[in-house]
Symmetry: C2
Subunit: 209 residues, 2 copies
């Protein structure tokens, strides 16, 4: 089955089957896809909190308009941007590149200059907004991977980010919530996944020049 | 080949082979994936300008730090957010849902209330920022689709959005540039696609709760 066919079958599930859990292997595949998602300059300036603990999810549900997906899915993926994208962060990234590629750090002077220049040219607020957007790329890749392996993934923006930060202790970790996605299996009586998918026609969505 | 394997093989190509063009079918598949990407409330509040015209691309390249990907790829995808996400936009979306699902418009009163409420609760600036993020989800899905069909896709943020808007006449169309991606085939001597992919280890990227 092609990705397009799988994307056609996927749905923004609202009612998950709490008794049907994804396997550890599937959870790992979803994480691999997020790990492989491209990000600006390759910085990956976010983390993903994979929440399976029932008590924590009950608290998050209260901070998410009581939406059942938060507790009834197999896992809740909470994307969170790093809040301190400073020079030390940039330099540590260059250390990582040097290490992974087994190259001399000095050979990465050009990349380092670009990374540090980009970071220093933006305010903290701009950097976090930029970082949130990178998390959205990874969210798109997560949705694609879930569709491929037949797992339902429901991205969600309807929650209170400040409360999520508080419940998950993200401030202390130097993180702030970007966006979330519930993953698992749809309940048989989920009405949303039975509805016809609404998408704008290509003639409206695309302009050819 | 799985999506994960394909994502492992993909690269942020810097040098495309200008003589190697993607087919019309591949271009259509990339557009299908973007069309199927999830967006908040299903609104799809962006368009994608698919630029193949050489003259336009030469101008865009000048507004994109002279990066060769802009002219040498098969096509440049310019994601652009709608700038007017007003009540009329929300109502037209409900018309679309009613039409696609062949349901009475009145049966969508709850959805309409949610859509209009969401739109009216944000400033124009907040709505455009929100809309840009939705485009980034679609960018992630585009990258996944390209990886699946063996097409190189290089997302790019290094360009002047105001100049892009100007060159493409986006203001008049009620649009403003979000992010771009060059698609095509890597040149045989592209150095970036030969480098070892750098990704943070899962132990750093994920937190389990």
């Amino acid at each position: 089955m092609s990705l397009i066919e799988n994307l056609q079958k996927r749905a923004a599930v609202k009612k998950f089957d709490p008794s049907k859990k994804i396997t550890a292997e599937q959870l790992d595949q979803l994480q691999s896809a997020i790990q492989l998602a491209p990000t600006s300059l390759g910085l990956q300036s976010f983390k993903v909190i994979v929440v399976q603990d029932a008590e924590t999810r009950a608290k998050l549900r209260a901070a998410g308009y009581n939406q059942a997906q938060i507790t009834d899915s197999s896992a809740l993926f909470v994307f969170a941007s790093l809040t301190s994208l400073d020079e030390a962060f940039g330099k540590k990234f260059i250390d990582l590149v040097a290490d992974v590629r087994s190259v001399d750090r000095d050979s990465l002077a050009g990349l380092e200059q670009m990374v540090l220049g980009t970071l220093s040219s933006r305010t903290d607020e701009q950097k976090v907004a930029w970082s949130h957007k990178q998390a959205y790329i990874a969210l798109g890749v997560l949705v694609s991977q879930a569709a491929e392996i037949g797992v339902d993934a429901a991205p969600m923006e309807g929650f209170d980010p400040a409360q999520f930060d508080e419940i998950l202790g993200l401030k202390e970790l130097g993180l702030t919530t970007s966006v979330i996605a519930a993953v698992g299996y749809r309940a048989e009586d989920d009405v949303y996944s039975k509805m016809i998918k609404v998408r704008r026609p290509k003639s409206e969505l695309f302009i050819h020049v």
